[in-house]
């Protein structure tokens, strides 16, 4: 199978996923207790005011009709108007996507930068003091809640030492890097722990593999063995894991974006849920689904590049 037809077939597989996501999210949102009209109008509203809001939002229509309009409008690019923000959902989401994308990519880069070298050091010192120290450190990272790590980083690195701003996003690329350092690091500490554990195990496994032994016996230098044989093969499973972690990373933004006052999709999602903002929740979930699907697709492509056998299967 050529690379192009592989890509097309993977893209086609995404369509049923989206349809399923749309059905599930539509039903889930409506299963949430509480009336969006009440959430929108504040408790002080009269029954007549609430009725007016329900009419305006089409909440009085049968569920089937609501779903029909939802699918029809979404397919035509209209995700409705946010109840909370009184603005088109698509417009609001497009405003926030760059922030979350920046944060996610930043966190992924940091995770790789942290986990990669440490995994190799740990694997090459298997069961040595260095290995134990690195693994214990990451165990702490894994078992500490994300918001707590965030608050610790904020208190020490931002409020006390003033190395980074406490919150916000900034306006230029360099400011984004500076402002998002702590939130990205917060998420990366967790993700890098997972990646580190996996990469360390794969490196150890590959080091023992026959083809590495063979390469050694040929007298290849340590650098060439590690770079050409070990890294590429150890990365295959790690790339899958990294792809899966990006899904997690995005859900992690719900917490980090709130703690660090980053105006991204995660924080918006939290606000939308609290306000029972149906159109916004639906739009955001679809956006997350699209983003995660694209990440998975990209992961598959990278894997296929690393391991040509996958393209043939």
């Amino acid at each position: 199978m050529s690379s192009l037809s592989y890509l097309v077939s993977r893209l086609l597989q995404i369509i049923p996923t989206f349809l399923l996501v749309m059905v599930v999210i539509f039903l889930l949102v409506r299963m949430l207790p509480g009336d969006p009209a009440i959430a929108m109008a504040d408790a002080k509203a009269t029954e007549a005011q609430l009725e007016l809001i329900r009419q305006k939002l089409g909440l009085n229509e049968p569920l089937v009709m609501q779903f029909f309009y939802f699918v029809k409008n979404t397919l035509s690019g209209d995700m409705g108007t946010s109840i909370l923000l009184k603005a088109p959902v698509l417009e609001v989401i497009l405003e926030r996507i760059p922030v979350t994308a920046f944060l996610t990519i930043y966190a992924v880069c940091l995770s790789i930068l942290i986990a990669g070298p440490l995994a190799f050091v740990a694997a090459l010192n298997k069961n040595g003091m260095l290995d134990i120290a690195i693994r214990s450190g990451f165990q702490v990272g894994l078992s500490t809640p994300v918001f707590y790590i965030g608050l610790l980083l904020l208190t020490f690195l931002a409020a006390s030492l003033r190395l980074f701003p406490v919150g916000g996003y900034g306006t230029t690329f360099l400011q984004h890097l500076h402002h998002l350092m702590l939130p990205a690091l917060t998420v990366a500490l967790y993700t890098s722990a997972i990646i580190m554990r996996n990469l360390r195990a794969s490196v150890i496994e590959v080091l023992d593999a026959e083809y590495v032994q063979f390469a050694r016996s040929k007298g290849l230098s340590r650098g060439v063995i590690l770079g050409r044989h070990v890294l590429r093969n150890a990365l295959i499973s790690t790339v899958t894991l990294l792809g899966l972690s990006i899904g997690n990373l995005m859900s992690g933004t719900l917490v980090t974006e709130t703690v660090f006052a980053v105006p991204g999709l995660g924080r918006l999602m939290l606000e939308a849920i609290f306000a029972r903002d149906y159109p916004l929740i639906q739009g955001l979930t679809l956006t997350f689904a699209v983003m995660v699907s694209l990440v998975f697709l990209f992961t598959d492509m990278v894997q296929a590049w690393l391991d040509p056998r996958l393209r043939l299967s």
Partner: protein
């Protein structure tokens, strides 16, 4: 003696000069908010983060002083109410202008008030239900009333009657009034208030700059505001807002959790302010004969509800939850800062013996009561633990049910609750709103409790057309007596608004209604 007098006079004049010099102009105040404003239009603003910003952009005809009770002239230099209370003549101040330099005219006032009255627009038109028509006069406007309305003067000092530019509104893009209002929440819109909107990134930042044509004068005799700009950053997380202030990135942070007040008070770089508010925390008690599931309701009698109230040590709650910053409610219907609040001393002071006796005689003893609280609220968690212990002492078992805000609202409306947590802040400078909400059955079943008292309802209706202040005050006193005795609520406590500012920020105010006022704020350099 003469020398002494001269010296004293010199001293006094020095003081006067010092205080005149004290105010410093210019600079940007950065303020951390818990939420963003989505639509700052007087008529459509419906959430507190929107409402509390309106008066920074749009002035009202009358204004309320910092105490929340005294009404003074605003864009209007004065008003006159006819003897029968059915005509109100309002005179506009001379030479007032919008931020673009165009004059604020009677036509703008008529236009703004007609929008506020229109029941098809916004949630607040009911507050002006008594207005029949508005006509322009040579010097202002005249309101013709369907009936005398004692609240109307307060309403003319309330955000929803703020004055917008008719020309700007008509020129704004949009098919209907709401779309035009939305379009006008944009930089460059001519406004009547102390600040204009300079720029805005939804959900993140908003900047106000000084209106160069604002009419009010500062202490130094020059036009307000003192600041060049106010920059708002949205930070929903309490701890992060405070950290940002401590790190010097912002000059102010609102909604400081009460647990942090003492710590911030001790910090010399921070000025921890507790502004008097109209905020009350109470718990509606389901007062219906039967519960939603049809079973008999042990809280249906007033004796049972009184027992529940006597069994609660409010002073302990004030210490536990507000860390000593709050105080017990003294009026059952409103905060003590509200006009016509009757101070009858702390309501239902802690009396476990009396509570036990009443619980026994009313058949409440042995009952199981569900307390519905907000999930994730640490205040509610503390409240539950305390109440469970206190009611346990009179033989009442308490179960907790944790829900989120919209669910709690839905339960309140459907009556599917025993007791749930709630709070209130006045939107209007008149007690009619809160009294109608808490006690009047026809609008909202007395805050969802189902309590229905004919005398209270009649008094409330009469008081809404009573223009003799003394008679109205008497009616309110009686309403408060009836309500306190019937106890459809757990009367818990009132709390201030906690705002932390950098030590060099002066003159900022959060009014008892919650409005953030930056017009007289300044930063010492």
């Amino acid at each position: 003696m003469k020398t002494l007098l001269i010296a004293a006079l010199a001293g006094v004049s020095m003081l006067a000069i010092n205080s005149a010099q004290a105010v410093e102009r210019g600079g940007t105040l950065t303020f951390a908010r818990y939420d963003d404003s989505n639509l700052v239009d007087p008529v459509y603003a419906d959430r507190n983060p929107d409402i509390w910003m309106v008066t920074n952009l749009y002035d009202t005809l009358l204004r309320t002083k910092a105490d929340g009770k005294t009404i003074v002239p605003g864009l209007a230099s004065g008003y006159e109410v006819s003897a029968d209370g059915k005509t109100i003549s309002i005179t506009l101040r001379d030479g007032i202008k919008f931020s673009d330099g165009s004059p604020i005219t009677a036509a703008d006032v008529k236009f703004s008030l007609e929008r506020a009255v229109n029941p098809d627009f916004g949630p607040w038109s009911g507050l002006l239900g008594s207005v029949e028509s508005i006509t322009e006069t040579k010097k202002g406007v005249t309101l013709s009333m369907k009936n005398p309305d004692p609240t109307i003067i307060s309403i003319l000092a309330t955000f929803n009657t703020a004055i917008v530019s008719k020309a700007a509104f008509e020129a704004a893009p949009g098919a209907n009034d709401q779309e035009k209002a939305t379009a006008l929440f944009a930089p460059g819109t001519p406004v009547s208030g102390p600040f204009t909107l300079k720029d805005r990134t939804r959900g993140s930042t908003m900047t106000f700059s000084a209106n160069p044509h604002y009419w009010r004068q500062g202490e130094d005799g020059k036009p307000l505001p003192y600041l060049d700009e106010v920059s708002f950053v949205v930070i929903p997380d309490d701890a992060t807002r405070i950290l940002k202030l401590q790190a010097g990135e912002v000059n102010g942070a609102e909604f400081v959790p009460f647990s942090r007040v003492a710590e911030l008070k001790a910090d010399p770089a921070i000025n921890m302010e507790l502004y008097p508010s109209t905020r009350i925390i109470y718990s509606p008690i389901n007062s219906r004969e039967t519960r939603a599931d049809g079973s008999p309701n042990p809280m249906a009698t007033k004796e049972a509800r009184q027992a529940l109230n006597y069994a609660i040590n409010k002073d302990a709650l004030v210490q536990l939850i507000t860390h000593g910053t709050g105080k017990s409610m003294t009026s059952p219907l409103m905060a003590s800062t509200t006009q016509l609040a009757h101070d009858g001393g702390p309501l239902y002071p802690y009396d476990p013996a009396k509570a036990k006796e009443l619980a026994k005689s009313s058949g409440l003893e042995g009952a199981e009561i569900t307390l519905t609280t907000l999930a994730g609220s640490s205040d509610d968690a503390t409240l539950f633990a305390a109440i469970q212990q206190m009611w346990g002492a009179i033989g009442v078992n308490v179960k907790v049910e944790q829900v989120d805000n919209p669910t709690r609202g839905a339960k309140n409306r459907s009556g599917e609750f025993d007791v749930h947590t709630y709070g209130w802040v006045n939107d209007v400078n008149d007690p009619a709103q809160v009294a109608g909400w808490l006690g009047y059955y026809p609008t909202r079943k007395a805050v969802g409790t189902g309590w229905n008292n004919a005398e209270f309802n009649a008094l409330f209706e009469t008081s809404n057309t009573e223009i003799d202040p003394e008679k109205r005050s008497e009616q309110y006193k009686r309403m408060q007596e009836i309500y306190a005795d019937a106890a459809p609520l757990l009367f818990l406590y009132e709390t201030p608004f906690a705002v932390a500012l950098s030590a060099n920020v002066n003159g900022y105010l959060q009014t008892p209604l919650g409005n953030n006022e930056f017009s007289s704020a300044w930063i010492a350099k």
